[in-house]
Assembly symmetry: C2
Homo-oligomer: 204 residues x 2
């Protein structure tokens, strides 16, 4: 949907709720602010979503899917491991740069909720995906193409290198004294840098 099209009320609500929940989290978000940003009033907001909790669930579910859908496709494919890693970095980098508040939001809300909530959203999805990746790593190691490494640690390394600098954006800007433009450039450089860093670390 492009900006100039007329949004339905439902769409206006979703868009506004995404903004506010992603920025402020569940507890920081205000139904009032969501209604305002959607250009409607609180009564109408509650007409569409009976409660803040319902609206949140809807927003969170979409966010969670954005975070895991791409990784899943990549890790399950049968491309060579180096291209998998590069694709993983590129896809995640695209996603977090386009939705800078998404990772923090998902991470925080997963943390706020009990373990069974986390399992419900992640477990089934992720087991197969990961074991495929693990096997791919192992065979490359066996062939002497990669330095031996625990596949779990490697996967965590890659994701850390991409997501953390987005979650920590405010610190980063202070830490290396960046303006907004410099930060964007830094992250764009980072795309290549992370790929090279991981590649270099895996040299046998």
């Amino acid at each position: 949907m492009t900006d100039k099209e007329v949004k339905s009320t439902e769409e206006k609500i979703i868009d506004a709720a995404e903004e506010v929940f992603h920025e402020k989290g569940y507890f920081g978000a205000r139904m009032r602010e969501i209604a305002d940003r959607a250009g409607i009033n609180k009564g109408l907001l509650h007409y569409y979503y009976k409660s803040k909790a319902k609206l949140f669930e809807s927003i969170f579910s979409v966010a969670k899917n954005k975070m895991i859908s791409r990784i899943q496709v990549i890790l399950e494919g049968d491309a060579p491991i180096q291209s998998k890693i590069d694709a993983l970095v590129d896809q995640y980098m695209d996603m977090v740069l386009k939705n800078p508040n998404l990772p923090r939001f998902v991470l925080n809300e997963l943390n706020n909720n009990a373990d069974d909530f986390v399992s419900k959203h992640f477990d089934e999805v992720v087991k197969l995906t990961f074991s495929n990746f693990q096997q791919a790593i192992q065979s490359e190691v066996d062939l002497g193409h990669l330095k031996p490494i625990d596949a779990r640690q490697l996967l965590v390394n890659i994701i850390s290198l991409v997501i953390f600098p987005v979650v920590a954006k405010p610190v980063l800007k202070s830490l290396v004294a960046l303006s907004e433009e410099e930060y964007q450039a830094f992250m764009e450089e980072r795309r290549q840098q992370v790929k090279a860093f991981v590649h270099d670390a895996l040299r046998p």
Copy 2:
């Protein structure tokens, strides 16, 4: 202070407030819950801290210092770069394992506040520290001891590799299907793994 000593009311408040703010963040925290965990009532809590905001500032300031004090000492010393990196990983790993909610808390609250708030807490401190590190990296690169790398990117890499898996603990436990004990073991392995990974990536 050990557990069996009698805590002053002030100490009980600080300890309880740390727990609650670190777990729930500013907006999720309740003065009621802080009073309960401290074993006092809300009236007394407000006698010590006139407002939630004041109490928060006090807790946040300590948390922020925990996050930057160690890194600063290490990066400013004149040890060889490889030992600096190892020390940095060890120190940060110790800290985040002992205070698993600390990084998320600091990161979130920095994000919730305006840029000048961030600058106030970080800027002056960090400039000198970083330029020292940058020079150390550069001379090692010049000597051919390290593969050329942007010092900013390297520093962000190291911090990402240590902190992210703590911030993302719930995801991690699902992603690689870990129990609490397995997670702790994973993180303990990680201490060596990160050092080796960074070291390997920097081989010329």
